[in-house]
Amino acid sequence: MSRWRPVWLVARREILTRLRTRSYQLSTAAVVLLVIGGMAAGQWLPDLFDEDPEQRMGVVSAAVPLKDKLREVAAAFGENVVLVDVTPGDDLAKTMEREDLDAILVEPDRLVFEAAVDATLHAIVVQAAFEAALPERATSLGLSVEEARKLIEPVAIRVELAVPEDEDEDDDLWGVGSVATVVLLMAMSLYGQWVLVGVIEEKSNRVVEVLLAVVRPWQLLTGKVLGILGLAIIQIGATLSALAVSLVVFEDVTLPEVAVTAIAMAVLWLVLGLLLYNFMYAAVGATATRPEDASSAMAPVLAPMMMAYFVALIYVPENPDALASRALSLFPLTAPLVMPVRIASGGGSAIEVILAVGGMIAATVGVIWLASHIYTGAILQTQRIGLLAAFRRSRA
């Protein structure tokens, strides 16, 4: 039997066992529904909050000659104005209510609103009336229409932004990076706890002695970590699939390009972070004896993770290329949480990303070695044991 077959069998058992649990099924469904719901909200909420996306204006027969101009100007303004022919009545308010109108153009120079003036409609009517009157006015002054237009052409004013547009885009990017860091921390904590609790359970129900009689500690550890990584990938895959389907179904919703890149990078950091941290979770889990010890056992793993999280959210966005940001984005224990924010904040480079990824892979190999020894030294102990003592015991 190849040395990797036991790893595969352990990973397969982890996946199949947890796939059947109601908690896994419900959490996967919840994430998928959250994505689809979020996208649906993106599609429909603007309509819900926009009280009246189209405006309706009644046009009495005396003003009908203005209709074409009104349509042209409304289109130029980017407004959807529906023109409704109405007959003049005694009570304009009732006509408005009956026809669901925002205003009535009673005569070419008389516009009536219900209770408040709509500045946009007013501007459209003024401009349309001006356009209609322009040829006659030009002729009376002895000018051609073109000459008249030139005369009233507005002076060009240069318009600039005090904040450059690309910097504004960086704010979006930073937002995406921050969200990615929060999601990464949550995912690494969640899947890490699965590993931790799984190891403690195997130890407390003593099945680990039967397992270690037939597989080596590194095979058991690696299988467990890869199995839970597989479960994470299934959930990530389901989430991304829901996102992709939603993008097709809800045609009005689009993701900014930066978000697509950030998602791809977040998945990469998540996979690397899970590999590194979950071996550490497994090692500290082996030192505990009961499930109740889980929270105290995980403290040494949580410390660097939380430190990286707060630095990533508070310090790095303002100082993406500071020495501390640079160092923490390259240090394997903090890289998965710090590097995404650093990149999103405009720092980092392709070389640094490659260095960080390479460092994490090398550190993961080292952590597998270290975790296997701690695991071996601690897993058959019936009393709580320290990390160093467990390591020494495995070498004794």
């Binding site: 066992t17 003593r206 099945v207 002695e209 039967v210 270690l212 009689a213 037939v214």
Partner: protein
């Protein structure tokens, strides 16, 4: 053949194994006996590399036991260990595959052994829903679910009812008949006496007695005499040098005498002292051997 060569293991000041050596031949059932804390479990764990030895070697057919070799061994640890929420058949299949069986063979073996052990109707039940005795049967099935070369069973009969003990004993005997070596520990000495071919007694980490059961019984320097009837109450045994009362009741007495003693002379002395209803002169039982070995 499994061989321990001078195994030594210390935990601080505590000596768990002190140069222990023994052998388990293929097809032989070896009863591994010793008081609590004598080193049995440590020795059994060392076969699977679960204990890092200070000195000594564990050999299989002359070669050190490594991963691929240990996968051919079945193990039932003293502290039972199963996945509580995993269905019975799936659990047995899983361990069979870890031992190298493919999925089809693992399924076949799981169904075979669960049938033999009377669990056919519980194959889809979660282990945690079974009684203690049935969980123990599943544990045995896990250690049997591939054709192992060696079975290492630490206290396989503890906590079982007599019917389950008989079933389990039959199964282990069949495995030995197939050719597997069996090393098992137990405090139920009468049961071990019925089952084992060879016996190894360990005390304070040292093997103090070992060999085929009949040989070690015959080689003992003592014989045991049981007398029933009126004579049991009389002190006639004082006439025999070295005779020692090991058990005394109102109408029976059990003596340890020198192996070279003449049973005819003993019976004559007892009969002269009073009426004799029953008389036995025999080599030591396994329980006698155990007491002799560990009290030295």
């Amino acid at each position: 053949m499994l061989r321990f060569e001078r195994l030594t293991k210390r935990y601080g000041d505590v000596v768990a194994l002190d140069g222990a050596s023994l052998a388990v031949a293929s097809g032989r059932m070896v009863g591994f006996l010793g008081p609590n804390g004598s080193g049995k479990t440590t020795a059994m764990r060392s076969i699977f590399g679960l204990v890092r030895l200070d000195e000594g070697r564990v050999l299989w057919d002359g070669q050190p036991v490594e991963g691929s070799v240990a996968r051919r061994f079945g193990y039932m640890p003293e502290s039972r260990g199963l996945y509580p929420k995993m269905p019975v058949r799936e659990q047995v299949e899983y361990f069979a595959m870890l031992h190298g069986a493919d999925r089809t063979a693992a399924r076949r073996q799981a169904e075979h052994w669960l049938g033999v052990l009377g669990l056919s109707d519980r194959v889809d039940s979660r282990v945690e829903t079974l009684s203690h005795g049935n969980q123990q049967r599943v544990q045995l099935a896990v250690s049997l679910a591939f054709e192992s070369d060696l079975l290492v069973l630490d206290e396989p009969f503890s906590g079982l009812d007599p019917l389950a003990v008989r079933t389990m004993g039959d199964v282990i005997r069949q495995e030995a008949a197939r050719g597997a070596g069996v090393l098992f520990s137990s405090h139920q000495l009468d049961l071990v006496e019925d089952l084992c071919d060879d016996v190894v007694i360990i005390d304070h980490g040292r093997v103090v007695l070992s060999g085929p059961l009949e040989d070690v019984r015959s080689a003992s320097p003592h014989r045991y005499v049981e007398v029933r009837g009126e004579a049991a109450a009389e002190p006639w045994h004082r006439a025999f040098a070295g005779a020692e009362v090991v058990e005394e009741h109102q109408r029976s007495v059990r003596l340890r005498v020198d192996a070279k003693s003449d049973p005819g002379a003993i019976l004559a002395a007892a009969s002269a002292a009073g009426h004799v209803d029953g008389f036995r002169f025999e080599p030591p039982s396994l329980a006698d051997l155990f007491v002799e070995a560990v009290r030295r």
